[in-house]
């Protein structure tokens, strides 16, 4: 194969590991998190904390839902979101079969007639649960902006922080379009999911995927996962779960596709995910160009300021001096 490394900043990128300089890398791996079968047991959160020996980071009760973890961070690399909401009204509630499976949990088991009434009133109560994680972006802003080279692309196409190099500059934190990576206050350095780099090296699957009892978290080569996910969405659509959709699967999206992508049952922002994330470095060439122009303008402005007194008359008092 005549593959030229081209170090794209955005767009479709078929082989990030090779472009990062790995010769003959293994296939790119990732997660497919199918939230339609998530039961919110948080086994993934626990397994991740245990395996990676992540310190405790607060034992608060949020009161907002069963979610007391609140979000991803330096010491939370898997986070299960809980959304309590009215299910969207079915397009044709009367006589149409309701969706199967765990996607809709009626409080009171209702007859089809009942369901029609509830739908008209805004749908039944349901829980959405989703285990969030670092997306291991194809174009990872965190990695692009890291000034020390602490963040790097592994041979598996994943994105990992090297603790012994990170100097805690914190630049990766606001660069991530998903709000994943964070500095640990007690430590200063940045931490996030490594996709269990140590386990991958030993031919093991990541701890969270291993622990998930419903196979909501699926680990494998990214190509396979994408095919499997497409089939799953199709099946759900056939079963009437029309709101099922994939998120982060598209290699043509703003981050070149996620290494960890999702099947969601509502808009991404409902789960706290950005609806259309773009890797910030996509615009970096434009930024440098504008900065160069601005720097020239700065120099030009001062050049003008020094020639003006000479033209309008020398001396300290500028325009007034000119009229002398």
């Amino acid at each position: 194969m005549t593959h030229q490394p081209h170090h794209l900043l955005s767009g479709v990128e078929p082989d990030p590991a090779r472009d990062a300089g790995h010769d003959d890398p293994p296939p790119r791996v990732g997660f497919f998190t199918d939230t339609s079968v998530c039961i919110g047991c948080k086994a993934c959160e626990v397994a991740c904390k245990e395996w990676n020996a992540i310190p405790e980071d607060g034992l608060s009760l949020t009161g907002m839902s069963y979610d007391n973890t609140q979000g991803l961070g330096a010491s939370t690399w898997r986070h299960v979101a809980f959304i309590e909401q009215q299910a969207p009204p079915r397009p044709a509630p009367d006589g149409a079969p309701g969706p199967e499976g765990r996607t809709e949990l009626p409080l009171v088991a209702g007859a089809p007639d009942d369901r029609g009434r509830q739908a008209a009133a805004g749908g039944e109560l349901r829980w959405l649960m989703s285990s969030d994680v670092c997306k291991h972006c194809t174009h990872a802003a965190c990695l692009d902006v890291c000034p020390t080279g602490s963040l790097f692309r592994t041979e598996f196409g994943t994105v990992v922080v090297q603790e012994d190099i990170c100097n805690g500059c914190g630049y990766c934190v606001p660069a991530c379009p998903y709000g994943v990576i964070e500095q640990r206050p007690s430590d200063g350095r940045a931490f996030k999911c490594t996709l269990c780099y140590d386990r991958l090296g030993a031919g093991q699957e990541p701890a969270c995927a291993k622990a998930c009892p419903t196979e909501s978290i699926q680990f494998g080569p990214l190509d396979e996962l994408r095919e499997r996910a497409a089939r799953r969405v199709e099946r759900l659509h056939e079963a009437g779960v029309t709101e099922a959709r994939l998120y982060g699967h598209d290699p043509a999206d703003g981050v070149g596709g996620d290494g960890a992508f999702f099947l969601l049952l509502d808009e991404p922002e409902v789960y706290g995910l950005p609806p259309d994330p773009v890797v910030t470095t996509r615009d970096l060439p434009a930024m440098w160009k504008h900065a160069a122009t601005a720097a020239l303008a700065l120099a030009g402005g001062f050049a003008l300021s020094f020639t003006a007194p000479a033209v309008f008359g020398r001396g300290g008092s500028g325009a007034a001096g000119g009229r002398r």
């Binding site: 979610d67 100097n167 206050p185 922002e269 789960y271 259309d276 910030t280 007194p309």
Partner: protein
Amino acid sequence: MVPRAEFESYYGRPVIKAPAWAARDIAGYFFLGGLAGAGSVLAAGAHLTGRTTTATAMKVSSLAAVSLSAAALVHDLGRPGRFANMLRVCKPTSPMSVGSWLLAVYGPCAGGAAFCALTRRLPRVGATATGAAALSGPAVAAYTAVLAADTAVPAWHDAHRELPYVFSASAAAAASGMALVLAPPRESAPARYAAALAAVGEMTAMTAAERRLGMVAETYREGRAGALLRAARVLTVTGAAGAAGAALFGGRGRRAGRGGRAGRGGPGARIASAGTGRWITAGSGALLLAGSACTRFGIFAAGIASAEDPVYTVAPQRAAKERAARARKSAAREHAADEDGQGPS
């Protein structure tokens, strides 16, 4: 603009993470970096045109500013002891890496320029250092805008085209302000022109940025950021106007002074006028410095506010997505129409 009513979020929690940077360190760094970088250009201009006092004063000011800014940067690191890791690699995709290298080049030049000017030794070396600092100075002043814009922070990233001009103009305002404070009146004409240009430039660039930002521009108008940026506008415009106005005063004052000397014991009022001009000039310079600091702290605060409220991440992205979908649809319609048109033939 997307109305707030359509906006959904996960219990109102932010989507992205705001930087953990301390405002004093990082906004302070933006301000000091600008003061240093633009100051070096002013120093070189003064050096070339024989305004020696101004040149020396600005060289010293730039050295002080760049030293403080580097200290602020190191202080803000989670692991300050590892600051040298910044120079482990050189990554053009990381504005912070580029900036570290820029500072590594600029800092010693600014230091050399100040050292030679103060000690009046090695004039050749001093001139070279002054020139090198003036060449790298504008880059030091402008790159911090890229540093802020190359993030997912809506108030910074979405203004990535305008921010470098805002930062450069603000840097020029700070440097000319410093020159107006430090330089003797007979040397201050260029700084007055520069102050006026900088004020006009900053106002223009800020207006353009806010227009571009759409709904995110709220973060530039509300809260702490709004207050700081309003103060910045008043301070910068007053400072620039004061500097120009003091020129008139100063002109009259000097003429009056000469007349007074010629006539032996001229009226005290005229002499007071000359002194007033000097004070107005210095005061205007201080206003310009304060204005530049307010601009940087204000933009910093706007960024934090835009990161902490999910609406500023979600609403613009939703709008972009819908625009793209509409574009795709109309392209598909056109394509279909084309096919229909060509079909029969």
